[in-house]
Symmetry: C2
Subunit: 329 residues, 2 copies
């Protein structure tokens, strides 16, 4: 049924050790026996048992990934990039999804540790001392992405704050004077890890400040933002921009504005963040910030494997973003 090195050893009349030497290109074996072993292995359709190898080597050649879900387009893209890079470098990928549930998230990490993955890439909703204590129990290399946990863990992402600040620079350069900011996750402020969202918000405020915007912005911080929008009287004589912390919200906002008969950008400007790829099918083209999500995935894997092989992370600098000037502003 299933072929092991012992079977091959018996047939070739050699020991298991020799079969191992042949199969794994180790030194200390004659070309003749190597050929013979390889031939027999081939004939018998031998498949190595990584489970056994992992046990003895203490390495699984596997990287665990913890994400919220795959519904968000960006996450799917991210995982795709991670898997590709990992496979390139000979690693496999365990994917675990948390549905943004903090307890679930910890459980996923525990599982991955039990599975002896060689490293974990973490996009987490957890944060704080308790969580850090939880992570500290493990000796597995961990890289956090997007949601920063603390300086104790490697982090890869972009300069979120700076990016959103530049977005405001751009909007003010186009004479927008009134601002509405949409970021539903802010409802979880202080409860779960919404680092990126907080950074973006801070960048937004910073942008208003340096550009001397006097008018106080309206900040919508919950999932009912469309309803909230409905209660707002948009200024007739001052240009208003709705700045959304994510393209998805921007799309919902545009749908709402269209239904209400507003013209974009003549009546109201809309700005997103992320530059998700479906934008190419949407009119008007959304103004947004391009988040190099594939690059984050690839860098995370590279850095992780460098850590596994050489003991140190690559610690790349924060990645570059790019303003995409669309027609919605």
């Amino acid at each position: 049924m299933k072929v092991t090195i012992k079977d091959i050893a018996k047939i070739c009349g050699v020991s298991a050790g020799t079969v191992d030497r042949a199969l794994n290109n180790r030194v200390g074996i004659s070309e003749k026996t190597r050929k013979k072993v390889l031939k027999v292995a081939e004939e018998m359709n031998y498949q190595p048992d990584y489970t056994a190898r992992s046990l003895v080597m203490g390495k699984t050649m596997t990287i665990g990934v913890v994400l919220f879900d795959l519904y968000n387009r960006s996450f799917a893209q991210l995982l795709n990039a991670i898997e590709q890079k990992a496979r390139d470098l000979g690693y496999f990928v365990y994917i675990t999804l948390t549905d943004k549930d903090p307890e679930n998230e910890k459980k996923c990490i525990d599982y991955l540790v039990s599975r002896k993955v060689d490293g974990i890439i973490l996009f987490t909703v957890n944060k704080g001392k308790e969580f850090e204590a939880h992570l500290s129990k493990y000796h597995v290399p961990i890289i956090t992405i997007f949601n920063y946990v603390s300086e104790k863990w490697e982090y890869i992402g972009i300069q979120e704050r700076q990016a959103m600040k530049e977005a405001v620079d751009y909007l003010t350069s186009k004479n927008y004077q009134e601002f509405i900011y949409v970021s539903p996750p802010l409802a979880y402020l202080g409860k779960t890890n919404i680092y990126t969202q907080v950074e973006r918000l801070n960048g937004f405020y910073e942008g208003l400040m340096v550009n001397n915007i006097q008018s106080k912005p309206i900040v919508l911080k919950n999932s009912e933002y469309i309803k909230d929008l409905d209660h707002i009287n948009f200024s007739k004589d001052r240009k208003t921009a709705i700045v959304c912390s994510t393209d998805l919200y921007a799309l919902e906002v545009m749908n709402y504005l269209k239904v209400k008969g507003f013209n974009i950008p003549e009546d109201i400007g809309v700005m997103g963040f992320d530059d998700i790829d479906m934008l190419k099918y949407i009119t008007p083209r959304l103004t947004t910030v391009k988040y190099p999500i594939d690059e984050v995935g690839r860098k995370a894997v590279e850095s992780m494997i460098h850590k596994i092989d050489n003991g140190t992370f690559l610690s790349p600098p924060l990645l570059d973003y790019e303003m995409i000037r669309g027609e919605s502003t």
Copy 2:
């Protein structure tokens, strides 16, 4: 550093076997020692080594998934559904991506087998005798989805042909008389496995036949379909529908038509297939066929685990699709 059952055994003054009995709720152990062992395990933050357990049990509690990529929205949704269901049932998911490369695909399957996954869910570009021979070498349960391989392997999907036939029924009921069919993957006909695409095309032809459409349809079978469209003179007096085998193509077609100044559906009708969720942000609402992709993922996992536990697949009947009557036709 890392805690094993031996460590716990030593501390508790019992044997490894007893620790195992306590940890895994086996019989033949007193309540008192069980309590004690559990307490010590907890204190020492014991994490079982699944690698070792897998080796002895010959089971990994892992399901391998082979997909093209995650860029296609539907695949991401599918994987999400698979992971959720698997985790619900205590299984983990190995994801491998093939980029539609046949050789790569076989390699992914080999790897998964080496990792001793308990089952493999396969969305494949390979087909034919040679591939079947390759698959036959393994004793792992395999479920194919979307792209049918042969009756020798379990299959889960929808009645693609019937669905596309009904789409044509619907279009003729709306008085469309001229048809253009878009399905770039057909360029690979005879080369790789494009079962779903072929079925849809057949359903399309069948629909034309039963509805007595005399006019010969134009079938665009390559990735240059937008260019091809550009060379077509659309009928002025007879209603024309562009039927796309996938929503993605339909979106590209709509973009093209908009640029060219055609009104949808007044000048030309457009029909998609899949009902991907981003459609909610697109105007006009695309007429399409809803493919229950999450359900396919869940059923695949359920059936697989039933096979693992009880020796037989659940073999659910082909799943239901649903016509979504949008504004694009």
